[in-house]
Symmetry: C2
Subunit: 202 residues, 2 copies
DNA sequence: TCCTCAAATGAACTTTGTGTTGATTAATGA
DNA sequence: TCATTAATCAACACAAAGTTCATTTGAGGA
């Protein structure tokens, strides 16, 4: 397992392995894939795989970490103050648009990993990401713990999972709506009750 | 692969295999498990496994199907009219209580399968269950497709995933709240917007 | 340009898990 | 008690994992 990422041969090889993994995941899901599949799709020797990764799980982990790194960079541009100040019901929150653009850019990865053939540990990781980078920051604004209709931690679980559900559904549907459209739905669902969102009330 | 479930030896063996599967999934997730792992944890011969199941996927499927059968039975007691007529914000919807009692009765299974080491295909199955048995029935009551704030299918995805999230969080926390308490939260979150649920408005 | 070092290759090898088979032992229930 | 059949045990062929090492290839420095 090499560490030196300067050698262009190494960079090239690792990139080819990751690309092959993504293509195969799209075709058959992660578990059916063998190391032989990956290397032959990448046009490399099977032995070469083991020079860089311990096994296919290791390769998946490293690939995942790259994607999470991208998400963290986007998260840095998030300011809860913007969300509080954002009132318009017809324009989406810009940060959300940016997130969906990123998902769209890496559809193959996210639609497999968050889909029924994916890795539930990745969904957990993604939920943890939303909790830490989005909701916990927002939580700083309210400290009234008494007599709320629903405890904060349950509301958090509800919202995080709901939003993940939208992401999954959007990917599942082949990203038919634009990031802007989806982001607008988010904005509205946060402002309205489910019953209102359905157009059944007020 | 035997069919006769009368022989106590068969019942006992199949039960031991299923229990072993759940324990191992909890420890290392489904994919890393081998048939040898399962049988040695169950204290059985490896050959015995193949007398009852084709492979580990078959075992998982059969186990899952049993649980889904239980859910379907509960779903038969659901009438969307009850939900429409239910107005009280301080008593939960009885059907929801029944569901959570069932989860509590089979904590081992549900907390493993819906957790980070579980099977994302099961989550999908469970979501499909909620869509068919709960939301589609409810959908019959409104046919106003025009100018709703959020399209029905996205709202459905949002709600189903949100509710799944609550179930997961409840299991993860070791079922600290009673089924009654959780059901009440559901009732409130459906009636209020997320902002209201947090106690930030009105 | 040539030379050196490390990456990639190819082939052989061991190990591990799968799924099957057939003979043997042990439990069930009539 | 006895026939039936589940469970065990050992052996098998097979596929993929992971290792090893000699050889070839290519990148970068002198």
């Amino acid at each position: 397992m090499s560490e030196n990422t300067n050698d262009p041969r190494i960079v090239r090889t690792m990139h080819m392995l990751r690309e092959a993994l993504l293509e195969l995941m799209e075709e058959q899901g992660f578990e059916r894939i063998t190391v032989k599949d990956i290397t032959s799709k990448a046009g490399l020797n099977r032995g070469t795989f083991y020079l860089h990764y311990a096994d296919k799980y290791d390769l998946l982990e490293k690939t995942t970490e790259d994607m999470m790194q991208g998400l963290r960079q986007i998260a840095q541009t998030f300011d809860p103050l913007d969300l509080v100040l954002h009132e318009s019901p017809d324009t989406p929150f810009p940060f959300t648009v940016r997130l969906f653009e990123y998902f769209g850019k890496h559809v193959r990865f996210f639609s497999v990993m968050l889909g029924p053939k994916g890795d539930p540990a990745f969904s957990s990781k993604f939920q943890e990401f939303m909790r830490v980078h989005l909701l916990d920051k927002f939580n700083e604004f309210h400290h009234s713990e008494d007599h709320v209709p629903v405890p904060w931690d349950y509301l958090t679980a509800y919202l995080i999972s709901a939003h993940l559900g939208i992401v999954q559904y959007w990917l599942e549907q082949g990203c038919k709506h634009t990031p802007w459209d989806i982001a607008l739905m988010f904005t509205r669902m946060t402002q309205l009750s489910p019953i209102q969102s359905a157009g059944l009330k007020k």
